[in-house]
């Protein structure tokens, strides 16, 4: 009995529990339903409010002119590197933005580091409006081709250097034509035309060509032996081999704020690396002080036809390990990139159809098509490397995921005027003169010290720890003052081949419109930028070609410079209007469309 009772009681209890659970569930469902209803009301309320708001703003719009707010230009963003690392760029950006605001634009400067900027501008091409940018001087840029072609040809717009996205079939046609025009005067006319188009269409807001200020110790070097090169200043190959010592100091000791990445003739890496490769390896031609290519390791370069060059090699040249330099080596050097293990040099040799060896000192280069810049872009660019060293290296690389760029020779062997001597990582690289070279340097050693602290470098040129201030990123005025205080120091200022500019993103309105771009160019006050920001150590720029290249620079360019008044005229002429609040609006019918 007792047991049965217990079971009954238990069952009862269970039933009660179940009922409770059910009622709880039911209650819950009820509550949820109520909540849902409440939510519907909420949504309904929000929708109603939105309808109200839209109709209300519609009324306001109707009052201030139909569709005006749609025509107002959106907020724009100008990218600049930080003031701390690039004060000139940042200050220029502020100046331009001030001008843009005067035109009735809502615009701000956005400061980002160079790494981020490169990432955005380069790999996210649809996402930015305007950005500060700079092109630096390099010997191969002494031929206008690289700048006029790669920066603005439509083929490089998607992934290459035409990051502004400029597309103009007419420009493409002319820029392609100048490539195959071998007559210099004719080619110059084409280059002039291209500069004309770039200025008329205000493709970029060119700002300045800075001055390259380089200081040397005239107690160490004979001033007449220091050579100035067009667009490059006195820091160049010719100074390094012609510089003559005055006293006992027989080493050129120069500074760099950056370290060397690698010393490799098959790898285009940092700029300091290129100073070294230039001296250790010879090239068939060298860019001369005047900016024009001249035979170097080649005794002569003779054009048999548009597409065939006959090259006679200089006799008696030797590698630093004592073996002779042969035509085989030359052929090998120009064919090495074909192996696929030297990707960076591939573009420079892609135009070569074949290389024939005629005899011990003569080669014939056959081109696929005529190329005006071939001498500078290829013959003066490709390093001549010893076949007896690199052939087996390239062979071994075929089975490895690495390529020639990751090879670092223990002692790099070239045939150039300086021999590799030592490399103390992060500290210095020492080269010593190659006495057997046909143009042996007058100095015994060439030493580059890596000094990230600019103030220290400035102190070192004063106390003699370095004797050639090759890199100076600080205040030019201060530098000049220090030089004036010290009778041993001489400063040479030259117009840089490189230039500073603000790039417009042609993919995004309003920068797709010539009139708008011309207006921005007009408000950029280059005189103030030169005097106030650069303190006179720059010249105003209106073209990709530096005034240092007198032969190629077009001096009659129609680049607007009339300030806010002219800008407003340009905009009015193109149909732009201002709303009641003074905000700039697109011409009637134009709508912003962002990808």
């Amino acid at each position: 009995m007792e047991v049965e009772d217990k079971i009954k009681i238990k069952k009862k209890e269970e039933n009660i529990r179940k009922k409770r659970l059910l009622s709880i569930k039911f209650n819950y469902i009820k509550k949820e339903r109520i909540m849902r209803k409440q939510k519907y009301f909420k949504y309904l309320f929000i929708v109603l409010m939105m309808i109200l708001a839209i109709s209300f703003s519609g009324i306001i719009q109707a009052a201030s002119g139909a569709g005006d707010s749609e025509r107002v230009i959106r907020k724009l963003m100008v990218l600049s590197r930080p003031q701390a690392t690039s004060p000139d760029e940042y200050e220029t950006a502020l100046l331009i933005v001030d001008g843009m605001r005067e035109l009735g634009l809502d615009v701000d400067v956005k400061v980002i580091t160079w790494e981020q900027m490169a990432d955005v501008v380069w790999y996210d091409r649809d996402s930015w409006d305007m950005t500060g940018w700079q092109m630096t001087a390099r010997p191969e840029r002494l031929d206008p081709d690289e700048l006029v072609y790669n920066l603005f040809h439509s083929s490089t717009a998607e992934k290459g250097y035409n990051f502004v996205g400029y597309i103009n079939p007419k420009y493409d046609e002319i820029v392609e034509k100048q490539r195959i025009t071998l007559d210099k005067k004719e080619r110059r006319a084409l280059i002039f035309q291209l500069q004309g188009i770039l200025a008329n269409e205000a493709v970029c807001d060119f700002v300045v060509n800075p001055m390259v200020n380089i200081v040397y110790n005239s107690k160490v070097f004979k001033p007449e032996s220091i050579k100035e090169m067009a667009g490059m200043g006195i820091k160049n190959f010719w100074t390094y081999i012609y510089a003559e010592p005055v006293g006992n100091q027989k080493s050129i000791i120069l500074n760099s704020n950056d370290t060397v990445q690698s010393i490799n003739p098959l790898y285009v890496s940092g700029s300091v690396d290129s100073w070294i490769t230039e001296l250790v390896w010879d090239r068939l031609m060298r860019v001369g002080q005047d900016g024009l290519p001249k035979p170097w390791a080649a005794k002569s370069v003779e054009w048999v036809s548009d597409k065939q060059a006959k090259i006679v090699l200089r006799e008696g040249m030797k590698w630093h390990d004592g073996k002779p330099v042969t035509v085989e080596d030359v052929k090998f050097s120009f064919e090495a990139p074909l192996s696929g293990e030297v990707p960076m040099y591939k573009p420079f040799i892609s135009n070569i159809e074949s290389i024939e060896i005629v005899n011990d000192i003569t080669l014939l280069f056959n081109l696929k098509k005529a190329f005006a810049a071939f001498e500078i872009a290829t013959l003066a660019k490709v390093n001549i490397i010893p076949k007896h060293i690199w052939e087996s290296i390239l062979e071994d690389l075929k089975d490895s995921p690495d390529n020639a760029e990751s090879i670092q020779e223990e002692i790099p062997i070239g045939s150039g005027p300086y021999k590799f001597s030592s490399w103390k990582f992060s500290e210095e690289v020492v080269l010593e003169k190659n006495t057997e070279h046909f143009s042996a340097p007058k100095m015994e050693k060439w030493i580059v010290r890596f000094i990230p602290n600019m103030e220290a470098a400035l102190g070192m040129i004063q106390n003699g720890e370095i004797n050639f201030l090759a890199t100076y990123l600080g205040d030019s005025q201060l530098l000049q003052q220090k030089v004036e205080e010290n009778p041993d120091l001489t400063m040479v200022s030259s117009i840089d081949l490189g230039f500073r500019y603000f790039a417009f993103n042609h993919r995004r309105p309003p920068f797709d419109d010539i009139a708008f771009r011309r207006a921005i160019v007009a408000i950029t006050d280059r005189d103030i930028i030169v005097t106030a920001i650069w303190k006179g150590f720059a010249v105003s720029s209106d073209s990709v070609i530096s005034p240092a290249l007198e032969f190629w620079k077009n001096d009659n360019l129609n680049f607007p410079s009339g300030g806010v008044e002219e800008a407003k005229q340009i905009l009015k002429g193109a149909g732009y209007e201002w709303d009641k609040k003074g905000r700039l609006m697109y011409p009637e019918g134009k709508k912003e469309k962002l990808n």
């Binding site: 980002i112 580091t113 160079w114 790494e115 981020q116 490169a118 990432d119 380069w122 790999y123 690289e146 700048l147 790669n150 920066l151 992934k159 290459g160 250097y161 080493s251 000791i253 370290t259 990445q261 690698s262 490799n264 790898y267 285009v268 890496s269 990707p343 960076m344 591939k346 573009p347 420079f348 995921p401 690495d402 390529n403 760029e405 990751s406 670092q408 001597s421 030592s422 103390k424 990582f425 992060s426 500290e427 210095e428 020492v430 050693k445 030493i447 010290r449 890596f450 000094i451 990230p452 602290n453 103030e455 220290a456 470098a457 102190g459 070192m460 004063q462 106390n463 720890e465 370095i466």
Partner: protein
Amino acid sequence: MTLLYPNSDFWWIWGYLLNQKYNYFALRIGQMLLTLFIIVTILFLIFRLMPGNPMAAYIDPTFTQEQQQILMQQFGLDKPLWQQYLIYINNLLKGKLGDSFFFRAPVIEIILKVLPNTIYLMLGSLILAYIAGILGGVFLAWKRGTSTETIGIVFTLFTRAAPQFWVGMILLAVFSFKLGWFPSAGASPAGVVYSSELEKLTSFVFLRYLFLPMLTLAIYLMGLPLLLMRTNMLDVMGEAYVDMARMRGLSEKRVMLKYVARNAALPVVTAMAVGIGYAMGGNVVIETVFSWPGLGRILVKAVSTCDYSLAQGAFILIATVMVFMNFVADILYSLLDPRVKIGG
């Protein structure tokens, strides 16, 4: 006899303690490995989530898309992130740190090239700082309540608070540019090559190059041991045995150095062990001011060029040493100070 041959109870207790000690070691080692794993994972993510792109270093008018593809493949950046992570962990377990994107050379090779310089600089300044700090601490504790102490403390706080780059530039301006006693950049004169590290370390010229950066760092590091030493001294000076020593009529000098300082130095020793760990990290600021060819500058370069493998490799190395030295400090403490119990 009983002292030499203790009874079985003693052995049992000793064994238990020993066992506990091993457990403690095992636990600490486990914690260490877990910490390192977390560090390694965070490092992997942090550099990849950082804005920027290693390709930025190659932007050039002649840099084509094809070349970019080749580079991405070479760097292994064409793979999805989780695959990169697995490869990275796998390589780490095999002890491989990978190749630097920027220098195109094995990370370990690059680190080893600059590590000796960093160690000379850091150890040199650490030793200098701890000698000066301990002596200074003793001195200030001794001069308790005098104006010398006030001035000393203010000065110490000042050296601790002064920015290193500022101190460095002042020293450069005075001793290098004005007086010309010391060179201003690098670790050796232009063009000088040493045949071995030992020759370099023992050469007077190298020491001249080392001096200014070492001094700058020592000035900064000195504050910690000095203040620590002083506080400990003051604590210990209140102990009964010190009074006892004084009552015995021992000279003040003897009381201070033999009875107080020796006991007060204990925490300073462990602080130094941790300090050595930090020393591995090099010093970004001082190495840049004095153009010292060390790990700190390489780190800056690696981070600014998004050289993931170099930055990871260097940070992992630093983190490992730091975590390990912390472990050593803990162990040292438990060994040196019987009051610190294991486990508990």
